[in-house]
Symmetry: C2
Subunit: 242 residues, 2 copies
């Protein structure tokens, strides 16, 4: 029976052998939620990058739409901020465009997962898409929490637990203490996910920087139940046939 | 208000600044439990070492009692195995002796915590001693889980949660997502700690290698409520005046 393991920080990835596995990259607040939303709203593909200069270069050289923030507000010289609401404008003005988005924690997690057989992006917004893909693959899974500057964070962990709960029949979720812990935290959180996560000082800080509508949006389950960002060559694209 | 943070793996210690803090080294199964028992039963001081040759050298050069295991049985050429029951023999034949004990995960955690103002060893067996010391210090605390080969493990995390529960009045336990998670896991575990931890495949494996009495013994709270191993120079000694 294939297994589900959880890695609480990209700093711990060197301990894991990702070959042959599915890696699920999770950065609930907000990179993976925003990328799911962007692809769900018609963006053609996404380049996640770590720095503002890389983001700007993709805008200039490849004509990408650029999304970047500093201290919770859109960075000067970029088209959009990192909010999922950047892609929810009436009339979908960005549909068909490629997107370069700056995300430090998410990009680190993605780059360090390159050995995996498949890399997908997971969020509450596309929980069913991720679970469905994993069931179809029947491979071992590592959920890679992007964390916050390398540290454990609650929202990514609770997502890992939600995914384990969906997959516990058919996958081994008890060989990894990290998966058990994530599942137990999800079981505490699920009755009121936003209230549970607002216990986190880090979440409250993000919530005060941004319009709190971002946080509420990222807590929604399966708004994009058929949107699966998958890594192909150098970009995230929408998986076909889900 | 001083804070309590939890580090789930020695691999994450480079992210933490330990200067001025109390580091609590935790390796419930079994190094910290065995060291607490040894000092509680009259051992004069303990040298934790990573390898069997280091352990043997301390026996030969300094006349230490030596404790070492390989694959769950006492290693050839050493006085004792790593079980706390090695020190619970009638008549306390080892009282007054110095001990060298081989523990890979625990030694890594200890060595990487050297910058802390104080380093102590924590286990369920001496929970009150650790909590009392922390209250007396009024410094920030980092609970360093030894983990298992660098990976998250449930028993060390649940201990961190038990400690946070003891200290939640008077210490900030909500600035760290890791501390919140540990506390929530402890709240699930506390009604039946052994049953909770036996969900872990890693715990069950240890439990089948060893006499299960080791596991049951390490689950006891405050058997050594006044025994606090503190790091001084190159060894763990019994803190005086608790």
């Amino acid at each position: 029976m294939p297994s589900i393991d959880v890695c609480f920080s990209p700093e711990l990835l060197p301990l894991s052998d990702l070959r042959g596995k599915v890696a699920v990259i999770v950065d609930i607040l907000r990179a993976s939620s925003t990328i799911v939303t962007a692809l769900g709203e018609g963006i053609s593909h996404v380049f996640p990058v770590a720095t503002l200069p890389e983001c700007a270069a993709l805008g200039q050289e490849q004509g990408c739409l650029t999304a970047a923030e500093r201290d919770g507000v859109p960075a000067a010289g970029f088209d959009l901020g990192n909010s999922p609401f950047s892609f929810l404008t009436d009339g979908r003005p960005h549909a068909g465009r490629a997107l370069a988005i700056s995300t430090t924690n998410g990009t680190t997690a993605l780059r360090r997962s390159h050995a995996a057989a498949h890399i997908v992006a997971g969020a509450f917004l596309n929980l069913s898409a991720v679970a469905g893909f994993i069931r179809s693959q029947q491979r071992d899974v590592l959920v890679v929490c992007a964390g916050w500057k390398g540290q454990f964070c609650l929202e990514d962990t609770v997502f890992a637990g939600a995914l384990a709960a969906r997959l516990q029949h058919g996958f081994d979720i008890s060989s990894s203490d990290a998966t058990l812990a994530a599942l137990h935290l999800w079981q505490q959180a699920q009755a009121d996910l936003p209230a549970y996560l607002l216990q986190s000082a880090h979440v409250r800080r993000l919530n005060s920087l941004e319009a709190s509508q971002d946080f509420e949006f990222c807590m929604q389950i399966d708004t994009y139940a058929h949107v699966l960002p998958v890594w192909e060559n150098d970009r995230l694209v929408l998986a076909q046939g889900l």
